[in-house]
């Protein structure tokens, strides 16, 4: 062993912290190296001096009596124990010694609350800014590279609705899978909506041809004119777009309109034949909760037009939501009749349109 190896370990050697092998190597080196041996001797000498150090303290029976008295006191006051522990914990936490200072802790708590409140306020501000920009983004997304004048043609309305449906499917692939597995005809209807417009009649399947009249959305003027009892007397009082709330209503109306049109397209071979409406039922349940929430909001805001529309929509959604998975055709037809009577699909399209514009 060399001195360079020995010297860094010499304190540990003197402290008896080295393993047997390393100790033996150091001892062998010290026996041959005078400089390192001197260093070790100096350390040993220091230890001898420190060993002679005497403190002017003593432990007396009186001290034990004090300790015992304190322990007895704590035993008699069991409620004081957790409090004392809490004080100790806080004292340790804030490094304040045994004297816990409520004022300092209170100040720290106030600072913490203030910082938390500021973070929440900033997060909300950021959230509302994002929501305020969403309607504009929605308009842009719904009609990419289209001038504002031509974007609200009937075909565009239908395409917009399908865009929403596609967005929903992309956002919720699980639901898409369920729909594909359980309601093959529904999937066909949904995916063939665009195909109906693009394909000539000769290339359409009989099923597509049968569905075609229902799938074509009415013209804007027709839709407005047909929104009789829902929009009656309130067409002129449709509230102007009002930030995120109007956007929410418009989105909801679009989704509900899409659902109702999908439901309306369901056909059975006979009145007693069962129809698979599991997808519509699930969708109706989801929309129902949103509808209730939005209707209450609309009522609270005094938005009578939206409240009336949502109020009309609600029982229809409720009826669809309560249908069995394999619904009887007559039950489905009954709901369709009510939809037709209320002209709810057109009214929903108008509402979506007004908000979008």
């Amino acid at each position: 062993m060399k001195c360079e190896e020995c010297l860094p370990l010499i304190e540990e050697y003197v402290d008896k912290e080295l393993g047997q092998s390393a100790s033996e190597r150091i001892a062998a080196h010290l026996s041959t190296c005078q400089a390192c041996a001197l260093e070790a001797a100096e350390l040993e000498h220091e230890l001898e001096i420190y060993a002679r150090y005497q403190r002017d303290i003593a432990v007396t029976p009186a001290q034990w009596n004090i300790v015992r008295a304190r322990i007895e006191q704590e035993k008699e006051q069991p409620n004081g124990e957790p409090r004392a522990r809490f004080r100790e914990w806080l004292s340790g936490l804030f490094g304040m010694g045994r004297r816990f200072r409520p004022a300092l802790v209170l100040a720290l708590l106030l600072i913490f609350i203030g910082v938390t409140a500021a973070i929440i306020y900033n997060a909300r501000q950021r959230g509302s800014t994002e929501l305020a920009t969403r309607p504009q983004q929605h308009k842009e997304a719904a009609s990419p590279q289209v001038s504002p004048r031509e974007k609200r043609t009937p075909e565009k309305i239908s395409d917009d609705n399908q865009t929403v449906a596609r967005d929903d499917n992309e956002k919720n692939p699980q639901r898409q899978t369920v729909k594909d597995n359980t309601t093959g005809n529904q999937r066909e209807k949904r995916t063939d909506l665009a195909a109906n417009k693009r394909q000539p009649a000769s290339r359409q399947t009989p099923q597509q041809m049968r569905q075609a009249p229902d799938d074509v959305a009415p013209s804007f003027e027709e839709a407005v004119a047909n929104s009789s009892d829902v929009m009656k007397g309130e067409r002129g009082s449709v509230p102007a777009p009002n930030g995120d709330f109007d956007f929410e209503i418009a989105r909801h109306a679009e989704k509900a309109g899409l659902l109702l049109r999908s439901f309306r397209n369901a056909r059975a071979a006979s009145a007693n034949h069962a129809l698979d409406v599991s997808y519509e039922r699930e969708d109706a349940r989801r929309l129902l909760y949103q509808n209730i929430s939005l209707r209450r909001d609309a009522e609270a805001r005094g938005d009578r037009a939206s409240a009336t529309l949502l109020n009309t929509l609600e029982p229809i959604l409720l009826d669809i939501a309560h249908l069995p998975e394999k619904a009887r055709a007559r039950d489905v037809h009954s709901i369709e009749e009510r939809m037709q009577k209320k002209e709810i699909v057109a009214a929903l399209q108008v509402r979506a349109l007004v908000a979008s514009n």
Binding site: H45, R52, D56, Q63, I71, E88
Partner: protein, 186 residues
């Protein structure tokens, strides 16, 4: 019969006499360590009492495999540190060479050694008080209490590497401070 584990078990079972034995066995090293840390006799006594009261209160939390002395030194370290922090806030200066402290002894040395030992004690106390808190703690535990590196790491929460460094620097600093006395003595 009176091993540490027996005493702990008996104390946990409510035998206060067993805890008195623990006090008698460990109070001396604990108060010495606290005194090295805080440098005041009365305060060290008070903190030693606090250490044992806390130990009694928390004895249920002592792990089976933990050494009692290590655990007690750990509590003593916390108690002493809390006091030192509190005292720093009050900007009170530690007076290690207080005359009243030096007047009290638990052993009576021979008359010819008295002055030498008194001087030695004063020098060491003064040198200790000049070390920073971490170094003072490690030095006291290793040199005066003969705790192993592993035990010191458990008591202080320091890594072995840090405590080796602190110990080396504390030794060097102490050597520098007491060297004149060592040369006279030799």
């Amino acid at each position: 019969m009176n091993s540490a584990s027996d005493l702990i078990a008996r104390t946990r079972a409510g035998d206060d006499a067993a805890f008195q034995l623990i006090f008698e066995r460990y109070s001396r090293p604990v108060i010495s360590f606290i005194y090295d840390m805080v440098g005041e006799r009365e305060l060290a006594e008070e903190l030693m009492q606090e250490t044992f009261v806390r130990a009694y209160r928390n004895l249920a939390a002592l792990r089976e495999d933990a050494r009692l002395s290590t655990w007690l030194f750990g509590i003593a370290k916390n108690v002493a540190r809390e006091q030192l922090r509190s005292r720093r806030k009050l900007s009170r200066k530690v007076e290690l060479d207080d005359e009243s402290v030096q007047e009290l002894r638990d052993e009576k040395p021979k008359p010819d050694d008295f002055l030498i030992n008194q001087e030695l004690n004063g020098v060491i106390r003064d040198a200790l008080s000049r070390l920073d808190e971490d170094k003072r703690m490690v030095f006291a535990l290793k040199i005066f209490q003969q705790q192993s590196y592993e035990e010191i790491a458990a008591i202080t929460g320091f890594s072995v590497a840090k405590l080796k460094t602190d110990l080396h620097r504390a030794r060097a600093e102490m050597r520098r401070l007491i060297r004149p006395y060592m040369e006279v003595r030799s």
